[in-house]
Amino acid sequence: MTANVSSPPGAAFVSRLLPIVGQKLKNFVPTVIAIAIFLLIWQLLYSDPTASLPNPAKVFEETWDPLIIDPFFQGEGVDQGLFWQLFESLKRVAIGYTLAAVVGISLGVLIGVSVMMFRALDPIFQVLRTIPPLAWLPISLAALKEAQPAAIFVIFITAIWPIIINTGVGVQNIPQDYNNVAKVLQLSRLDYFFKVLLPATVPYIFTGLKIAIGLSWLAIVAAEMLTGGVGIGFFIWDSYNSGNLSEVILAVVYVGIVGLLLDRLITLIASMVVPEEQK
């Protein structure tokens, strides 16, 4: 690089960056081809205008204006741009998921440290966690009387189980050596919690949190279909009822992308929070 004096500044940086970007793009090529083939088959199968589902070209054409080009569109009532629909759903997920994380980690630590609590609660958790999200909705609606908190409760109750169970397993799997060290050093409960238990359990907690974010996104879409209002779930249901299948398909694609981004977000946070030695 020192020999290349005549090259403009930044050229070295770009020449180093290019292969990295190139490699990323190269990895992406098979995916792009797969999507293209999928779209092509779909296009061919549903090319007949009277087909039961719209083909990709039709979806694109029907949703281009205003849904795709103006996601920030604001109209009357539930007539909002897709950004706002997703934003409302994400807000509900954020509240329900945060509650689930706080309560779930606390309960997980409880069943992890106390054998008695584990014996008492674990069988109950094992039964409750198999209940599908939507089965909670009638109970939730009856108890909370309003759609908004009911939807949030469904998120909460769907997301909490993997958090509790993984945290509990993490606490139970703290190496005996660390507990022995804590005993000899006579660590206070607070010191033990923050300096031994939490760092040792954090990888397990994040495994739970990662499973939970996926589940809560699954649940919100389903819950909103029933509760109504602004939100991507009800948008899908509303579009279906008004016979606009192109809008349904576009919204479903957005739901998938947002779900992927949520998963990546938790992975990113985990990579920053989990101690290097614990990965």
């Binding site: 190496p175 660390y178 022995n180 060290v181 000899v184 050093l185 006579q186 660590l187 010191d191 030695e277």
Partner: protein
């Protein structure tokens, strides 16, 4: 030693009260109930007296209950009957007066060498100032020659360095008894010899009482004042105690050249591989 003469002098006025030795293992029995409703006895009546400042090695085949015995000195387990007394006080739970160095290091991996040592100091010496506590941690890192590695995490340290940190962590709390459970078992022979010599140096300076489990007869003879040999389990007892009379400070060559060395070594070998040969495996 001076403390002891003082104590015995003061107890002259009360002639009925005998002064108890520093550490007493008194008719210790440890047994566990088995699934079939029976009883599995690990240790069956162990008696041992350890003087203050003594270096005692425990040797015996795997499964003879050496670790169980030391666990009852450190307080991790409670005896089925009998008791262990340190300065006349029965031991009931772990405490910083009896520090343990484990074979597998057991350093917290998310903390640096310094933080690992500091953790115990700040928990035990609550009345000291922060700078005093930090000074203790730094002094003990220096004691084991790891000042430069203070801010390394255990992952970046070699096995020998990790065990040095463990020894520093234990000594920083000024324990009365240092308990080592096969501390050098996982180290390569050269590092092991280095650490043995360092341990002797530290022991000579600190005059701490040491109880150490080992599988290595040569290690025991080089380090210990007495070598306690245990019979095979179940229901293990102390079989024989060897007095190791070599003068201190010891050097390895001096010890190995002493004709007594081979006599003691043969005695230990005879005990372990002839009279109490491990018939399992």
């Amino acid at each position: 030693m001076i403390m002891q003469t003082l104590e015995s002098a003061s107890s002259v006025s009360k002639p009925l009260e005998t002064v108890e030795p520093f550490l007493v293992v008194d008719n210790l029995v440890k047994s566990y109930p088995t699934k079939g409703g029976g009883v599995y006895t690990v240790l069956d009546g162990v008696n041992l007296i350890v003087q203050e400042g003594e270096f005692v090695c425990l040797i015996g085949h795997s499964g003879c209950g050496k670790s169980t015995l030391l666990d009852m000195v450190s307080g991790f387990r409670t005896p089925t009957s009998g008791e262990v007394r340190l300065q006349s006080k029965p031991i009931t739970k772990p405490g910083p007066d009896r520090m343990v160095v484990f074979q597998n290091y057991s350093l917290l991996p998310w903390m640096t060498a310094f933080e690992n040592i500091y953790l115990g100091i700040q928990s035990v010496f609550t009345d000291k100032s922060k700078s005093e506590k930090e000074a203790i941690a730094h002094d003990h890192l220096a004691l084991v020659g790891l000042t430069d590695a203070a801010h390394q995490k255990p992952k970046a340290l070699s096995g020998g360095m990790k065990q040095r940190v463990c020894i520093a962590r234990a000594l920083a709390l000024r324990p009365q008894v240092l308990i080592l459970d096969e501390p050098f078992g996982a180290l390569d022979p050269i590092t092991r010899e280095e650490l043995q010599e360092e341990l002797l140096k530290i022991w000579a300076e600190h005059r701490v009482t040491v109880l150490m489990i080992t599988h290595d007869i040569d290690e025991a003879l080089f380090l210990a004042d007495r070598v306690v040999m245990m019979t095979n389990g179940p229901a293990a007892k102390i079989g024989e105690i060897l007095d190791v009379p070599f003068l201190r400070p010891r050097t390895r060559t001096q010890v190995m050249e002493d004709p007594m060395y081979y006599e003691l070594r043969n005695q230990a070998m005879d005990f372990l591989y002839h009279r109490y040969a491990h018939d399992v495996e």
